[in-house]
Every structure is written in structure tokens, then in C-alpha cells.
């Protein structure tokens, strides 16, 4: 008897919580927040160029660069991963040293210390943001590569910075993909195709 109770109840609760519940949530989400439910995708000239939530790999000096990503290849949206390097793993210090050197080589005029988030891998490998400090550090390089004033670039960073929610929650951050799209817009819209 107890087995019959258990099996039938389990099956019924599977239908309720495993099928009906996700379908109801999907149905409501589809109506109320369709853009967010489907991945907050950004479309530009009828091409889907990314998601507001997911970072991308940048290497062109005219673009801001995001954080190091531990996925392989970087920013693999199909298989998220952190580095899991412990704080005293020798590979961590080595990787950070190389990243500092690479940032300095790309911007030899900049003597400032490198903001920590630019040289440490994010938890997801898909972090869409850098800190405002991380963006400001790159302002000089981006301005020179684009032939515009650093003041323009800094102003754009300030405009693109999202502060703490309600002034309290989380940390100030700058969405790198959206910042780069805004950069392309203020100049004569020049897609980076060469």
C-alpha cells in the first residue's frame, strides 16, 4: 500500500512541479518579459551580435577588453567555468603577471597600477562587466586607437557605469559589450570589419 501511495504521489508531483510549474513560469515570462526570458539578445543590422548578459572576447585596441575568462575558448557561452586556481597556486601568479605585462605592452604610456579585475578570471568565464576602474584604466589606449580625445571616452564610461542598485546592492560595473557598441555609435558608425 505504502509503495502504491509513494509511486502514484511521486508521479503526480512530477507532473505538477516538473512539467506544469516550469510551463506556467515560461508562459508568464513569455508574455511579461519576453526579451529577458530568451537571453536579452542584442540585434544589430538584423544580425544577433550577442547578449546583454554575456561577455565577449575583445582584442582590437579600439575596443574595451573584458576580464580574463577561464573557459576554453574564452567566453564560451556553451560551457561556463571559473579557473578554480587556489590563491597560492603558482599558475595564478604566473597568469596575472602575463596579463599585467600584456596590458602594459598595449598601453606603454600608462604607468598606473592595473585594477585587479582586469587580470583575474571571473567566476563564470562569461562576466559581461568590468569595474569602472578597469574601464578608466583602458581609456587612454582606446582614445588613441580611435583618434578621439580621452575626455570623450572617459565621459562615455561615466555614462555607461551602472551604480549599486538602490545605491546599496552589488558593485558599480560597466557592461563591456554595451560600452563598445556605444563607442562605435559616437564615431561614424564603423563596424570593425577590416
Amino acid at each position: 500500500m505504502v509503495w502504491r501511495n509513494a509511486i502514484v504521489l511521486y508521479a503526480a508531483l512530477t507532473v505538477l512541479t516538473g512539467i506544469v510549474y516550469p510551463l506556467v513560469v515560461t508562459g508568464i515570462a513569455d508574455v511579461v518579459f519576453p526579451h529577458e526570458a530568451k537571453g536579452s539578445l542584442i540585434t544589430s543590422s538584423r544580425k544577433v551580435i550577442g547578449s546583454e548578459q554575456i561577455g565577449q572576447q575583445f582584442s582590437d585596441p579600439r575596443y574595451f577588453w573584458g576580464r580574463p575568462s577561464a573557459t576554453s575558448p574564452a567566453y564560451d557561452g556553451a560551457a561556463s567555468s571559473g579557473s578554480n586556481l587556489g590563491p597560492n597556486h603558482p599558475d595564478l601568479a604566473k597568469a596575472v603577471q602575463e596579463r599585467v605585462a600584456a596590458l602594459r605592452a598595449a598601453d606603454p604610456w600608462n604607468a598606473a597600477a592595473v585594477p585587479i579585475d582586469l587580470v583575474t578570471a571571473s567566476g563564470s568565464g562569461l562576466d559581461p562587466d568590468v569595474s569602472p576602474a578597469g574601464a578608466l584604466y583602458q581609456a587612454g589606449r582606446v582614445a588613441r586607437a580611435r583618434g578621439i580625445t580621452e575626455k570623450t571616452v572617459r565621459a562615455l564610461i561615466v555614462r555607461s557605469t551602472e551604480g549599486r542598485t538602490f545605491g546599496i546592492l552589488g558593485e558599480p560595473h560597466v557592461n563591456v559589450l554595451k560600452l563598445n557598441l556605444a563607442l562605435d555609435l559616437i564615431q561614424h558608425p564603423r563596424p570593425a570589419e577590416e
Binding site: V25, G39, F58, G123, N180
Partner: protein, 575 residues
């Protein structure tokens, strides 16, 4: 700690404590079967479930029948979750054509989700079809949490009832937990999470064309899925199993600081409120507040250690010309494995709450925490998941320690220990001790076996003491039904899938059965009115004693092992 750290933590604790009374009082009504206002619309659904399953919800059960029903229900779940994973390639809702999950991984995952652990040896987006995520894993998120709440309610009835032979009906306790508590909260939370950017769709992967072609990637593939519905219950039910590999660090699983706040609140919400439910059902709410106070004090202590250590950063990196000072422009600190939008404070807050509760979801990689930050998380596991703990299981674990504390106090003054008007005899003490000793046994023996065998050492990722920490953390997590990890350890292999599977099984059921036996024993007892010599269990003195017992039991058991892991690593790094 920065001023903002105090504000964020203060806000969190305030909202958590303010929710305890309304939600706790509502849950007491659910289990006392009283009218539930608007939620009464679900009554016909409840009756329908009983009718098709042939259940009489009014039929009271003794503790053995109650435990039997719980075990049979869990066994059905184990078989079902295992079978669904093995057969997912021939079942629907698999748009990305994922193959069957391996036998050892399926074994591990089915135990993991049935025991409310949600340890994940696999990467969600690359392993599980949408059907497996929903009909196997999401279902267990509900019913394993509901079973935990049911067992707690049975224990509370043991305290509340007098000269009774029964402790309630498992089926109705479980169904009511699911229908009236977990399901409505989950629907609301899931929708709010979607508004923040958490995905909820049945479409498969989407391929996009990234902005910068010179970065060498012509396309980027984004995994999607019905994530929000699963994440809502994963937090509320202290399950913790992520939809994606990196859990709530993934932007599609936890998109904004607000989604983060709501998720981290949900981790402790029900467990905290159940303290009030307990007080209400035993007829003295001060008893519930006392336990909630002890839990909160311990949590805040560990939180401060975690935030301070992570904010202090990693000295090994500071030498390399980086700026890790917290400022208005950056979170600073130890950012390896952390997300920019959450920074240090929210990552450390999450790490502390997820390990205090038996949740185990993460929004940052614990393996990359500083030695002391990682120690805070690991020791919170080793306290036995009683600081809030899992929904239901946390409070019944804490009540075992309350009994130990009352016993110790009784020894000091030479009186028979009593709690809530029940005299505690040798049988009760045996059950409480059993419930407390099983966990250290499986954790320490498991760790010892793993580090002494080649199979256990083969997949350690970090060298030296940190590698030992990875293994100790894995067994502490499994042995407390938590599910978080120092994830560098390669755990998706036959050795760890089997060993951790067995540990999770023991940790859930070898504790649940003594708890129900205790409930049966307590229910049979008469009520003894308090006398001049009765120890009050609601004042500052008792709260302090309880905190002492919780910390002491864990410290005596685990400090030697911790000395070989995070403590050694911390001291080495200081050199």
C-alpha cells in the same frame, strides 16, 4: 570591512529576520491545517493528489510508519531520477541532443538530489536535457525540501504532543509543504528573476556573431533553457543545484545585484522562518526566537571573517603591480573567481549563507577564495548545517544540539535534563548523539580514504595543502548535504561519484531516522511543568550555551583536519 559592507550585510540580516514572523506564522497554519486565506484555492488540488494516490491525510502515523513512508518515497525518487538521466537521449525536451548520463554520474546525481544535497559532478548545460532538469531535478528540488520540512514538523509534534503514539502523516506534511509553501514562493521568485535577465525558454542554444572579429571568434554559442523556474526552487528549497555549470555565478542564472539579493535571501528565508513556526507550534515563540538568535549570531561572525579575508585580497598578486584596494571605482580584494557585479561583499555573503544553509549554490568559485575565506565556508559546513541549515533538516539538526546543550547544563547542576516540558532520558540522548556523530564519521573517514588512495588523489587540481582542502571540502559538503565545492577537484569519475554518493546517502538518512525515533519517543512522554530548577531555554544564557556547544562540537572534531588544509595554507602564505 568597508562601510558599504556593513550596510549590505545589515540590510540582508534585517530583511531575513523581519520575514521570519509572517512566513513562520503562515507555515504553522499550514501544518496545523487551519484556513490559509487566499491560498485556500489550492485545497481542491491537495484533495485531488490524495485521492489519486489513495492517501487518507487524516490517518496518523507512529514514527516507524512515518520513517517508512519517507524512505519508500525517497527510494521511488532515486529510481526515477536515475532512470530519467540514463534514458534522456530517447526522451523529449532535448533540443541539443545530449546523450545519456554515465551510470556512475547518474547514481551520484540521483542520491545528490534526493538527499537535498545537489552536489553536481557534471556541468549542467553540457550534460542534462531540459526534461532531466525539470522532471528529474526540479521535482526533487521540491520534494526533497518538502520531506525535510515534514520531518522537522514531525519532531516539533514530538515536543508539542503529550502521551501520544503518533507524530503526524508524512504524505500530508509533504504535500502541504510543496503546495502551500514551496510552489507559490517559487512561482513569484522565478518571474521576478526573469525580469532581471535570468533565462526561461525551451529553445536550444543560440549562436551569435560577436562584435570584434579580430578576437578570433567568428561565432559565440549561448546555452539557454528553463533556468528561472529551477533556480527559484533551488534557493528556496536549500537545494543549490545549478542549471549551468558555474551555478549562480552565471549571468543567465543570476543576472543583477537585485537577482543576487533575492536569491541569497531565499537561501535562508524558509529555514529562518521555520524557527518561528517551531516556537508557535510548541506554544512558546520565545523558544523559536532563541534558536534563531543563536543561528544569526554565528552566521554574522563567520560573515565578518569571510568578507574581511576576501576584501584583504591576495598578497601573492599585489606584488605584481596590481591595484586591489577597495574604492568607489572597484570592489578590489581577491577577485579571482568572482563576478564584477557582485564584487567581494556579495560573494562572501553568499559563500557564508550557502554553507550555513545546506544550499550549496555558489555565485563565486570557493576554490579561489583566500585560505581564511575558504576556511569560513568549510567550517560552516562542518558545524553540521545547523546554522539555519537546510529547510527542515537545519532546525532538526539544531534541535539535536539543543538537546545536547540541555544535557550538558543538566550535568553541570546535577539535574535530569528537560526541554519544553519533556524529560530527556537515555534513549533520547542516544538518538541525539547518533544524529550528531554520523556526520563527522563519514566526512573524516571519507577524506582519509580519498587522500590515501591513488584514485582519490588523481583528480586533485591545486598543489599542496590547498589540494587537501579540496578533498576535505568535498566530503564536508557531501556529508552535510550541502553540495558546494572547491570545484577544482575533478569529481565526475567513478571514485568520487561513488564515494560521495554513499556519504550523501548516509548523511541524510542516518540522521533522519534517529530524528524521527526521537520524535516518537518525545511524543509518548507526559508534560512536566517547569519548576524552580528548570533551565530556561529562551534567555541570553541559554543562547550563549547553545552557540558554545555548536562551535565546540565542530571545533573538537575538525580542527585537526583543518590544520592540514586552510590553516596550514594561511600560515605558509604569511611567510
Amino acid at each position: 570591512m568597508t562601510p558599504n559592507a556593513w550596510i549590505q550585510i545589515g540590510l540582508y540580516v534585517a530583511v531575513l529576520l523581519l520575514s521570519a514572523k509572517p512566513l513562520g506564522a503562515y507555515m504553522a497554519r499550514v501544518f496545523e491545517n487551519r484556513p490559509l486565506g487566499p491560498m485556500n484555492v489550492l485545497r481542491p488540488l491537495e484533495r485531488l493528489l490524495y485521492r489519486i494516490a489513495g492517501i487518507d491525510p487524516e490517518r496518523e502515523m507512529g514514527w516507524k510508519a512515518y520513517a517508512g513512508a519517507m524512505l519508500v518515497f525517497s527510494a521511488v525518487g532515486l529510481v526515477f531520477v536515475y532512470a530519467l538521466q540514463r534514458l534522456q537521449h530517447v526522451l523529449p525536451f532535448n533540443p541539443d541532443h545530449l546523450g545519456p548520463v554515465s551510470p556512475d554520474s547518474s547514481f551520484n546525481t540521483s542520491i545528490s538530489f534526493v538527499t537535498n544535497t545537489n552536489w553536481q559532478g557534471y556541468g549542467g548545460e553540457t550534460t542534462m536535457s531540459y526534461l532531466s532538469q525539470m522532471a528529474a531535478l526540479t521535482v526533487q528540488n521540491f520534494v526533497s525540501a518538502a520531506a525535510g520540512i515534514a520531518m522537522l514538523i514531525a519532531l516539533i509534534r514530538g515536543f508539542a504532543r503529550r502521551s501520544a503514539s503518533t507524530i503526524g502523516n508524512f504524505w500530508s506534511d509533504m504535500v502541504r509543504s510543496t503546495l502551500y509553501i514551496l510552489l507559490p514562493l517559487s512561482i513569484v521568485l522565478a518571474i521576478v528573476l526573469v525580469s532581471q535577465g535570468v533565462v526561461q525558454t525551451f529553445a536550444g542554444h543560440v549562436t551569435v556573431t560577436p562584435l570584434d572579429p579580430s578576437a578570433g571568434q567568428a561565432t559565440q554559442t549561448l546555452a539557454l533553457g528553463p533556468a528561472a523556474s529551477q533556480i527559484a526552487i533551488k534557493q528556496l528549497g536549500t537545494n543549490g543545484g545549478g542549471f549551468f555549470n558555474v551555478n549562480s555565478a552565471h549571468p543567465f542564472e543570476n543576472a543583477t545585484p537585485l537577482s543576487n539579493f533575492l536569491q541569497v535571501l531565499s537561501i535562508l528565508l524558509i529555514a529562518g522562518a521555520l524557527c518561528y513556526t517551531f516556537g508557535r507550534m510548541v506554544g512558546d515563540t520565545r523558544q523559536g526566537w532563541a534558536i534563531l538568535a543563536a543561528m544569526t549570531v554565528i552566521l554574522i561572525g563567520f560573515l565578518i571573517v569571510a568578507v574581511t579575508s576576501e576584501q584583504a585580497g591576495n598578497p601573492a598578486l599585489r606584488r605584481l603591480g596590481v591595484d586591489d584596494a577597495p574604492s568607489a571605482l572597484q570592489a578590489g580584494g581577491n577577485m579571482e573567481g568572482k563576478e564584477t557585479r557582485f564584487g567581494i561583499i556579495n560573494s562572501a555573503l553568499w559563500a557564508s549563507t550557502t554553507t550555513a544553509a545546506s544550499n550549496g549554490s555558489v555565485n563565486a568559485m570557493h576554490d579561489s577564495f583566500t585560505p581564511l575565506g575558504g576556511l569560513a565556508a568549510m567550517l560552516l559546513l562542518q558545524l553540521g548545517e545547523v546554522v539555519f541549515g537546510g529547510v527542515g533538516s537545519g532546525l532538526y539538526g539544531m534541535l539535536l544540539l539543543v538537546i545536547i546543550a540541555v544535557f550538558l547544563a543538566g550535568l553541570m547542576v546535577g539535574r535530569t535534563p528537560e526541554y519544553l516540558g519533556k524529560k530527556l532520558d537515555a534513549y533520547d540522548m542516544k538518538m541525539a548523539s547518533l544524529g550528531i556523530l554520523v556526520m563527522p564519521l563519514v566526512v573524516l573517514v571519507g577524506t582519509a580514504v580519498a587522500v590515501s588512495t591513488a584514485a582519490g588523489r588523481a583528480t586533485i587540481f591545486n598543489p599542496g595543502t590547498h589540494g587537501f582542502s579540496e578533498v576535505l571540502y568535498a566530503f564536508s559538503s557531501a556529508g552535510n548535504n550541502n553540495g558546494s565545492a572547491f570545484a577544482g577537484l575533478g569529481a565526475n569519475n567513478p571514485f568520487y561519484n561513488t564515494a560521495l554518493g554513499l556519504v550523501m546517502f548516509a548523511a541524510r538518512f542516518w540522521i533522519a531516522i534517529p530524528v524521527l525515533a526521537l520524535a516518537g519517543s518525545l511524543a509518548r512522554k507526559k508534560h512536566v511543568p517547569p519548576s524552580a530548577g528548570t533551565l530556561p531555554t529562551h534567555g541570553v544564557t541559554f543562547v550563549t550555551l547553545l552557540i558554545g556547544v555548536v562551535l565546540l562540537v565542530a571545533a573538537l572534531t575538525f580542527v585537526p583536519a583543518l590544520a592540514l588544509g586552510p590553516i596550514a595554507e594561511h600560515l605558509t602564505a604569511l611567510r
